[in-house]
């Protein structure tokens, strides 16, 4: 699909999200709800006592009953649909040909850990803070955008073996 057309469609999805519910898209919030629900199920006593979960559980009785969680389920379905239509469904590891699968998976997990931590600290990820934030012209959106992309550009040289 032409990327510009794709961008226009994504912008339309964003507008519909605002029109329906007053909030834009998001992603890391769903992961956070997942973690909180998991901790609550496995160790409810601990969840009651730790500040982070407490703050969340007092306002949401069921952390999984959240707008973002449903949206994320939709993303998974939508991605699957598109992949199956285009014939891209395949279990594979995507990486530069110069490294092994193991290295790639290790760095993917490490990158995920960094991203998980950073998204909680920054109160949003690229979809929620940067994309939605820029569409409503909020200062936080632009700062997020600049910080994420700027750092990634800056560190690109050091991580080049992973990709090129």
């Amino acid at each position: 699909m032409n990327p510009y057309l794709g961008g226009v469609l994504l912008g339309l999805v964003l507008i519909v999200a605002f029109w329906v519910s007053g909030r834009g898209l998001g992603a890391s919030g769903a992961a956070r709800s997942g973690v909180i629900a998991g901790v609550k199920a496995i160790a409810p006593g601990h969840a009651e006592n730790t500040a982070f979960y407490q703050g969340f559980l007092t306002t949401h009785a069921n952390p999984l009953n959240d707008w973002l969680v449903y949206q994320m389920l939709g993303v998974i379905v939508g991605g699957f649909l598109s992949g199956s239509i285009a014939g891209r469904l395949k279990f594979q590891v995507e990486k530069s040909p110069k490294i092994t699968n193991k290295t790639r998976l290790l760095f993917a997990a490490l990158g995920g850990a960094f991203f998980g931590f950073g998204s909680q600290l920054g109160r949003g990820c690229t979809s929620g803070s940067a994309l939605t934030g820029m569409a409503v012209l909020s200062l936080s959106g632009f700062l997020s955008m600049a910080a994420i992309f700027g750092t990634a550009f800056g560190l690109a040289y050091f991580a080049r073996k992973l990709w090129i």
């Binding site: 032409n2 510009y4 519910s21 007053g22 890391s28 919030g29 109160r123 929620g128």
Partner: protein, 206 residues
Amino acid sequence: MKARLILASTLIPLGLIIAAVPENTTKPYKLTAEQLLEEVNNGTQFLSPDEVADMIVNKDPSLQLIDVRSVAEYEKFSLPNSINIPLVDILSPEWESYINQDVKLNVFYSNGTNDANQAWMITRQLGYANNYVLTGGLNYWTETVMNPEAPGNASPNEEILKYNLRKGAGMALGGEAAETAPQMSVPGTKPPVQKRETKKRVQGGC
């Protein structure tokens, strides 16, 4: 290249339009001129001295009297538990929480009816509810409540009730003492406090 050009040629004119046109700041809850005229014709904003006196005697907590005269006149004489918002200051931000709320029944009063009615029109046009006007103002109030006419013996019950009520109110407000009469409440004509619809605040974030 073609896609870029189509995109640019659509978005740049749209961007120019959106930059040039001033933002739309009409709030949906303000009244139009027609709606205001209708309310003025119905006269629903008026409360008679009897109704207000009734609320004072019953110590109704939802009543809030607002004196729209100048500070000097307010300090010379004012109705009990009234606050002073001079008409010239009515739009000042410090008073907004008094005139734009949904807990109390505000009753504007002045010497006559004019100033109080103007205060009502200004606040009503902004969409604020629960504001009313004391018919006749303080002049009529003094006539009816402070020095009520004693009805003749053959007057209907209503008149006697009204007289007793006014006497009671007048007594509460420092008028002459009245003979105690069986307390019967005047059929309630107090308008209900309209709850302002509070819009839900959206949650958001990522």
